[in-house]
C-alpha cells in the first residue's frame, strides 16, 4: 500500500484542527490554487494518459478540495491536501471505469500512485521501467508508445506478425506493471 508520509495533524493541517487547510491570501488564492492544480493535472495526466479524463479529474479535485482550504497556511500544506484528494479521485476513477471496488483495486492503486515529485514523473519514469524489461518487451513498447508506430509497423520492424506483436504488447505491459521504478 502506498502511504502518504504526512500524518494527520502534521503538515497537512498545520493548525492542528485536522479539518481545513489554510490558503495564503484571499486575493491570490485562485492564482495559487491554479498553480498547484497545474501540478495535480500533470500528476493525474501521467496516470490516465489522456487530456479529457485528466481535465475531468482535476476539476473534481478542485471542487472537492478548494472549499476546504482557508487563508494562512504554507503552500506545502495546500499541495499535500490537493494531492491526497487527487489520490482519492484517481482511486474512484479506476474503480468506476474497471467496475471494481476500491478494496479490489487497492494494491493497484499503490502501483499507480507512487510517492515522488511530479517533475520526476512520466518520461523518466517510463525509461526506468523500460530499462528493467527484456529486449523484446522494451522494443515493442518503445516503438509503439515512444515512436508512435502502428502494430503493423512494429511487426515489420521486429520481423514478426501483427498477431504476435499484439500478444507481446500485452505481455510487455503486464511485465511493465510489475516493475517498481522507485526501488
Amino acid at each position: 500500500m502506498t502511504v502518504d508520509p504526512q500524518r494527520p495533524g502534521e503538515s497537512v493541517a498545520p493548525s492542528g484542527s485536522g479539518e481545513v487547510v489554510d490558503l495564503p491570501s484571499a486575493t491570490r488564492a485562485t492564482d495559487i490554487a491554479l498553480d498547484e492544480l497545474e501540478l495535480v493535472y500533470a500528476f493525474i495526466y501521467a496516470r490516465v494518459g489522456n487530456r479529457s479524463d485528466a481535465e475531468d479529474l482535476t476539476q473534481q479535485v478542485a471542487l472537492k478540495a478548494f472549499p476546504r482550504l482557508r487563508q494562512g497556511a504554507p503552500a506545502s500544506a495546500i499541495r499535500g491536501y490537493l494531492f491526497a484528494t487527487a489520490r482519492s479521485v484517481l482511486g474512484a476513477f479506476w474503480s468506476t471505469r474497471l467496475g471494481l471496488s476500491t478494496a479490489e483495486l487497492h494494491e493497484d492503486l499503490a502501483l499507480a500512485v507512487p510517492q515522488g515529485a511530479p517533475s520526476e514523473e512520466s518520461a523518466e519514469r517510463a525509461q526506468r521501467i523500460l530499462a528493467e524489461l527484456s529486449d523484446n518487451y522494451r522494443r515493442v513498447l518503445e516503438l509503439r508508445f515512444l515512436h508512435g508506430y502502428s502494430l503493423k509497423e512494429v511487426a515489420a520492424e521486429m520481423r514478426s506478425t501483427v498477431g504476435a506483436i499484439k500478444v507481446m504488447q500485452l505481455r510487455a505491459l503486464r511485465a511493465a506493471a510489475k516493475v517498481n521504478p522507485d526501488a
Binding site: E38, G49, I129, L146
Partner: protein, 219 residues
C-alpha cells in the same frame, strides 16, 4: 476482432495513442495492471503536460465561485454529501448555504450526517447484509458503510475523518481502511490507532423497514 485480452488491450492502447478517453468494458478489469501501465506509457510519450488555457480559465471560474469567507469544513461538506457529489457540482453554491460565517471550523467528532431535506433511500434487503461485514452503499450523495447487527443496522460515513479520501472495507481485520494514510476505523467509526488523534467517522442514519428493507438517510 475477437474479444481476447490482447485485442482488448490493443483497442485501449490505440485510443490512448489517439488522445481519446479511456473507454473500458466488461472484462477489462482482468487486465487492470496492463491498462494502467499503458496509460502511463501513453502519458510519457506525450511529454510533460500543462493545462490548456481554456481549461485553466474554466477552473479559475469554478474556484472563484467557491466561498471566500464562509469556509466550508470537511464535516459540513459531508453533511451536504459534497464528497460524492463534488463531480456534479458547478461551484460552491452548496458550500455557501451550509456554513454560516464566523462559525468555528472544528466540529464535534462523530456528528451524524443529516442532509437538509434528506430522504430515506432503500439500499437493499436486510438479507443482503452479512453480519460482521461492512457493505458500501450510496443514498443520493451520501456514501456509507452499513453493518448488520442481528435484525438491526448501523452505518458510518465512507469518508475518512481526516482527509477527503473514500474508505474501503478490509474483510480480514474487519476495519475500514483509508487509502491516503495509514489509518483505519472500527465499524462503529472509532479510529483503531490510539496514537493518531483522529475524530471518529460521521454516523449515518440507517434503519430497517417493517418489510425487512435497509434504508439510509441520504439526499
Amino acid at each position: 476482432m475477437r474479444n481476447t485480452p490482447e485485442n482488448r488491450i490493443e483497442r485501449i492502447v490505440t485510443d490512448l495513442l489517439h488522445g481519446r478517453r479511456l473507454r473500458l468494458r466488461a472484462g477489462d478489469a482482468e487486465e487492470k495492471e496492463a491498462i494502467t501501465a499503458a496509460a502511463q506509457f501513453a502519458a510519457a510519450s506525450q511529454g510533460p503536460q500543462r493545462m490548456s488555457p481554456a481549461f485553466r480559465r474554466r477552473l479559475a471560474q469554478i474556484l472563484e465561485s467557491t466561498p471566500k469567507e464562509a469556509w466550508l469544513t470537511r464535516r459540513a461538506a459531508l453533511v451536504a454529501g459534497l464528497g460524492l457529489a463534488a463531480g456534479a457540482l458547478t461551484g460552491g453554491i452548496v458550500g455557501r448555504a451550509l456554513e454560516p460565517a464566523g462559525r468555528p471550523a472544528l466540529r464535534a467528532a462523530s456528528s451524524p450526517v443529516l442532509p437538509r431535506n434528506g430522504r430515506w433511500t432503500d439500499v437493499g434487503a436486510l438479507a443482503d447484509f452479512s453480519e460482521g461485514q461492512g457493505k458500501l452503499v450510496t443514498a443520493g450523495a451520501v456514501g456509507a458503510f452499513v453493518f448488520r447487527q442481528g435484525e438491526g443496522v448501523t452505518a458510518v460515513s465512507n469518508m475518512c475523518s481526516h482527509l477527503p479520501c473514500e474508505l474501503w472495507w478490509d474483510r480480514g481485520p474487519k476495519v475500514l481502511q483509508c487509502p491516503c494514510h495509514p489509518v483505519s476505523f472500527f465499524p462503529d467509526g472509532k479510529p483503531t490507532s490510539p496514537t493518531y488523534p483522529l475524530p471518529s467517522l460521521n454516523e449515518v442514519q440507517a434503519r430497517v423497514s417493517p418489510e425487512g428493507r435497509v434504508e439510509v438517510l441520504g439526499t
